[in-house]
Symmetry: C2
Subunit: 500 residues, 2 copies
């Protein structure tokens, strides 16, 4: 057994996993932070890290923030990077870097693996992941799904075991509606009782972020509407007081809902609504293709109506951490906590339809490429992130697509301006478009709609210089045929998914 290490995806540095506690660093930090309110953030992922930055940069109140994550191979590098002065996120939002540098100046952001940090916190924000597991068949039909709660419960227990008896615990994690009431509250109470502490002083609330990890990453937390609730009125008041110090609530007023179930439901409902709307467009893209209709043109025409402005475009599929699971989480809770016999049938179906899209996209591409069967060709994929403008490959639809494609073709190169290593597939991804086009591509497949590709018409210029016989397949409707060299003809050497 070798020494356990954690490799940073950002700095490239390798950190040995720590074998002991981190008390010294925590106490040194607290010493420097005297007089400041201590906020602990549990989970240093795409939400927790940026939430930490927003809290540490509060203008209304002086906070010292301790970010807590696990000493695991996949997570510990974030702790190392933060303490080394490297922001552990690639983002197109320059504010992320600015906010991080400011915490270094203010000396008010520490990262640690040691859950004893929770003992000193006035406020603990829960930003850990809670996943849904799916069992799918070869065609991506969902055979079953589950929400395994063990990790979540353990994380909550690690708070209860050390927290102050009057702490404010603010759950931001997307949870099955009912989780604060039926899981978090009993665990914290039980642990306080075990420590002989009063159980009526702590505050427990739920408020969810609406993080969009693109160019407005910071503002999607700081300058946006928030919904919140408390397990009781005292808790709701405590959440309100805290949020007012970190969010621009003058411009974006807070909305208090009556119960934690209500805000928990609001979160998964929001995301389910989006997943449903995408699923709707995907169903209709089949129809458009068969009727020879350009669905992008149709959708653009309809979006002029204010009531229909959020009609989604079709594409290679839905990815990311939220839309691929939240409807399932809601359905799961409706059955397990509230006895709904069938769950949320159509919301589950929407996820399934979205999950099946990469397979459909693969069939579409394979049909176009059947002429190249058993021939050596160079295929280039433009974009591996799950969506435009972000460097997040979690549950990217491109992953399923790539996996299927790679079983049929050997030479597949990938490009993404925001991803240098595709963790899920353990692949190197080219980040320079110029280098990427030196691969002498036979087929170019646009798989993520990064606007970067359109900047200064970069992609069009590179295509103009590419191999004469190049075929382009656009699975996300990014390219404009009129801007391509004249040799490109719709449905001859230029194909768009969703356009018949």
């Amino acid at each position: 057994m070798g020494i356990k290490q954690s490799l940073s995806l950002i700095s490239g540095q390798c950190y040995l996993l720590p074998s002991d506690d981190d008390s010294n660093e925590i106490l040194k930090f607290l010493n420097r932070a005297k007089g400041k309110n201590i906020v602990a953030v549990q989970g240093l992922g795409f939400v927790g890290t940026v939430m930490s930055l927003v809290v540490a940069n509060s203008d209304a109140k002086e906070y010292a923030v301790i970010g807590v994550d696990q000493a695991s191979e996949s997570s510990y590098w974030k702790i190392g990077d933060i303490n080394n002065g490297v922001v552990p996120i690639v983002s197109s939002d320059p504010l992320v870097r600015d906010y991080f540098l400011e915490t270094k100046k203010r000396n008010n952001f520490l990262a640690t693996h040691d859950t004893k940090a929770f003992a000193y916190a006035d406020v603990i924000i829960v930003d850990i992941n809670l996943d849904v597991t799916k069992v799918k068949d070869e065609d991506n039909n969902i055979k079953s799904y589950d929400v395994p709660l063990e990790g979540f419960k353990a994380a909550i227990r690690s708070i209860g075991q050390v927290c102050k008896s009057d702490v404010l615990i603010l759950v931001e994690t997307t949870v099955p509606p009912g989780a604060c009431q039926y899981i978090v509250y009993p665990i914290i109470k039980e642990e306080l009782l075990l420590r002989g502490l009063p159980t009526e002083q702590f505050n427990l609330g739920h408020s969810y972020e609406r993080v969009m990890p693109g160019p407005n990453y910071i503002n999607s937390i700081k300058n946006f509407y928030r919904v919140y609730s408390g397990i009781d009125t005292k808790s709701a008041n405590a959440v309100e007081d805290f949020l007012k110090t970190v969010i621009s609530t003058d411009e974006y007023p807070l909305t208090r809902l009556k119960t934690t179930e209500s805000t928990e439901m609001a979160k998964v409902l929001e995301n389910s609504y989006r997943a449903m709307n995408i699923s709707f467009s995907i169903e209709w893209s089949r129809f458009a293709e068969s009727a020879g209709v350009d669905l992008y043109e149709v959708i653009n025409a309809i979006r002029l109506r204010p009531t229909h402005a959020n009609l989604m475009y079709p594409g290679i599929g839905v990815g990311g951490y939220c839309l691929t699971k939240d409807p399932l989480m809601a359905s799961w809770a409706s059955e397990k906590f509230f006895g709904l016999s069938d769950g949320l049938v159509s919301s589950v179906k929407a996820v399934e339809r979205n999950d099946k899209m990469p397979k459909f996209c693969f069939d579409f591409v394979q049909n176009i490429l059947r002429q190249y069967k058993n021939k050596q060709i160079n295929i280039g994929l433009l974009g591996v992130a799950y969506g435009p403008g972000i460097g997040d490959t979690r549950f990217s639809p491109v992953e399923d697509f790539y996996t299927r494609l790679s079983k049929n073709f050997d030479n597949i190169q990938c490009h993404d301006p925001y991803v240098s290593r595709w963790v899920e597939l353990d692949l190197i991804v080219e980040t320079s478009l110029l280098e990427f086009f030196e691969n002498s591509l036979d087929v170019l497949i646009v798989t993520t709609g990064h606007r970067d590709y359109l900047e200064s018409d970069g992609i069009y210029q590179l295509v103009a210089k590419a191999k004469e016989g190049l075929i382009i397949i656009d699975t996300v409707g990014l390219l404009n045929l009129e801007k391509l060299p004249r040799r490109f003809v719709q449905n001859e050497n230029f194909y768009v998914l969703g356009v018949g």
Copy 2:
């Protein structure tokens, strides 16, 4: 066999069905209309009548409009009323009346049952209905559905049999995508050939209205975005030229799509999107009720997000002519015209879920009223129209609800400010709220969200004076508990569908 008559729902006048043609009236009208362009509008329903008014009131061009409808018992009264100076529509939009009176001044609007009118038209606008038939079981599961085309084909043929060879035919009817190409075009061509006329001169296009028959009825046609197409470029140009004279295209630019299939699809896609979104909220209202969550509160919180501002509220169900059938029409076309094996499964399911809502609502109400079983109580339904602010009862969800309720309770009175006779059920509807409340109600069920009820807090004042033991069941989330007398308590004598 008695003499066939047609009773006006508006003027109350009874018209004998005509036994002969209407040539004299048409020729007299044309004589007066010399120099004006003649527009014929086929179908004097909720769209055709108002479209006629908008065309006749064009500022850009002098039109004389002939509205054509059938000499049937259910339709002929509209022809009689129009020619008698009565606008055959009840609307909360005062412009409807103004526009109608203006046509009387201009003397440029004739109604007739005689399809020979089409012979004189430069432009013929098709605004007839094309229905979807559904076979449903007791629980409103959709067992099968069909789009019977005979009537539509006959109507188009009646145009082809007499129209000018260079006429512009503009189809506004919601049709299965493909209908202009595969049904209308061949029929017109065939009829022109039979008459020995050239077949390459006529123009055929499709453009759909987005009529909202509420307080902005006229403006929803005149001042709103339009999508249009032609069977070829010449036709598309002709449609564009015409629409520019009747719609405020400076402020609301027209959008031309490539094919008639595209605009036909756009129309049913728009409505399917809305039907789907309502179906989504309905699914979640089950969840909210079981989790003790107020879904209205949750939806209001979410609607603050611009991307989620069109999230629909739950309620008694979806009604009206469009949302209850358009997804089925689309699915039907995807199978019959374009060979999609399963049609649009989830769009069909959305209609089914919506159709099942009145039954669910009935179960909800029956559960509350089980204490009154076999007792004589007075039940009052507030609203029978399918939606707020309109007098349209076609496919109103209240119909299914009323039918079920009336099998269990005897004394059910209905009120609607816009409906005096409920055609589908052949019932008299009270239009005065004051008189309605004199029924000494035991149970008040709000079934249509007419804002009229809230005007000057009228409903709250009447409730305050009602019977002490009154129970209120709000199936559309119209009422505000805080404005009701203090004796009303949520889930004791005040119930809201979608609120747990």
